[in-house]
């Protein structure tokens, strides 16, 4: 942490900033980030693609108490079809009797096919430094198999429509210690928190760019992070109680966000700060 500056220090910083602004438009850190993102736009430069490779190997490797691979997992397009499945999430799964997003469906498949309890997948869904998460690897691989395809959340089934309605209600529902909702930060254009631009998630273009990119490679955490992690993190940032991995609420929110970004291409794994 930087030592706190006194009043004078803040005043000088203000003057320096004003002086800089007089000569040139302030170049917010975002521009540098964009340059960096352009440099890493090549699939061979984005470390997220290492996770795609590793996730693919993991998908095909027998594991769990039943020692079988996930190759027979039905992601909505039939058992064993991975290509294009993520673009059509979230969706209702009759075999599970509920709506699921990609993360949740993979955890469900691991339980059904491999015998790995859903709770274990939930517990290990977020990696720690030096300890990769199988869930993150698998989700990144599956999402990447829809690269370039438009986000098409499924809304034909009653339960899917219900999830969308719940997701929308949750997005705007204020609560907890800070009286925040998702919309507090994400329902306007050209806003930022500190120096980071905030996505306008109720606007198609901005939402599509964000949602299409997940799971992302988080440079600051040197790991990929999946959408369920983003849901958990946002709730933590709003000082809500910890939200459960794969819960109805998280999937409903993912449904709403995907609907907002509908039509945008999947670019996972994108790069994030």
């Amino acid at each position: 942490m930087m030592p706190r500056r006194g009043k004078l220090g803040r005043l000088f910083a203000g003057v320096a900033l004003a002086a800089a602004a007089a000569f040139a438009a302030p170049a917010w850190a975002d521009n540098e980030l964009d340059t960096y993102k352009k440099m890493l736009a090549d699939p061979f430069a984005n470390p997220g693609n290492l996770y795609v490779d590793e996730g693919e190997a993991l998908w095909k490797k027998p594991a769990g108490p039943k020692n079988v691979s996930l190759e027979k997992c039905d992601l909505g397009l039939g058992a064993g079809v991975v290509k294009g499945a993520h673009a059509k999430m979230p969706r209702f799964f009759a075999d599970a009797g509920r709506v699921m997003d990609t993360d949740t469906r993979i955890a469900w498949c691991r339980e059904q096919l491999q015998g790995i309890p859903f709770a274990d997948s939930a517990k290990t869904a977020f990696s720690a430094r030096g300890k990769k998460s199988d869930m993150e690897l698998l989700t990144t691989y599956v999402a990447n198999q829809s690269a370039g395809m438009p986000l098409s959340p499924q809304l034909g089934h009653e339960k899917e429509k219900e999830a969308l309605a719940i997701g929308e209600a949750l997005f705007f529902r204020r609560g907890s210690l800070l009286d925040y909702s998702c919309a507090t930060c994400h329902a306007a254009s050209d806003t930022r928190i500190r120096l980071q631009p905030l996505a306008h998630l109720t606007e198609n273009k901005s939402a599509g760019k964000v949602v299409g990119g997940w799971p992302v490679y988080r440079v600051s955490q040197e790991s990929v992070r999946a959408m369920q992690n983003r849901m958990w993190d946002c709730h933590w940032q709003m000082r809500y109680p910890s939200i459960d991995f794969g819960s109805e609420a998280t999937v409903a929110l993912v449904m709403y966000l995907t609907k907002m970004g509908e039509g945008a291409p999947v670019t996972a794994p994108a790069l994030a700060r």
Binding site: L40, D42, F44, A45, P47, N49, L50, D53, E54, R129, G130, V219, E222
Partner: protein, 108 residues
């Protein structure tokens, strides 16, 4: 030692004398040796400390890496190719492990 194969991008073909761009991406934690665990003990350094690339046995590019390099080091450099041959890459880990890879290029 990483369980993932490095990603390498070398053009499959090139004209004689052409300068080609080579890109490599290696999966590695790059633990700096500067951090402490929650008990206050220093986490030992574990990084890729050296990267080399040679073409038909002749060195093309090499560098030493230090503790400030972030995880999953990405390397991009250029090389002039005058004949068909093979690029050989090597990443040297602090623990002595050497991960190697190679990629052929045809000069037309």
């Amino acid at each position: 030692m990483s369980e993932t194969k490095p990603r390498i991008k070398v053009p499959e073909t090139a004209a004689a004398g052409e300068v080609v761009t080579i890109k490599t991406l290696m999966s590695h934690i790059m633990e700096s040796g500067q951090r402490k665990d929650k008990d206050g003990n220093v986490i030992p350094r574990k990084i890729i400390n050296k990267f080399t690339c040679e073409f038909n046995g002749k060195p093309v590019f090499a560098c030493n890496l230090e503790g400030g390099i972030s995880a999953n080091p990405y390397m991009e450099f250029t090389a002039k190719v005058t004949e068909s041959g093979t690029f050989k890459f090597a990443w040297v880990d602090d623990d002595g492990t050497v991960t190697t890879a190679e990629q052929a290029i045809a000069v037309k």
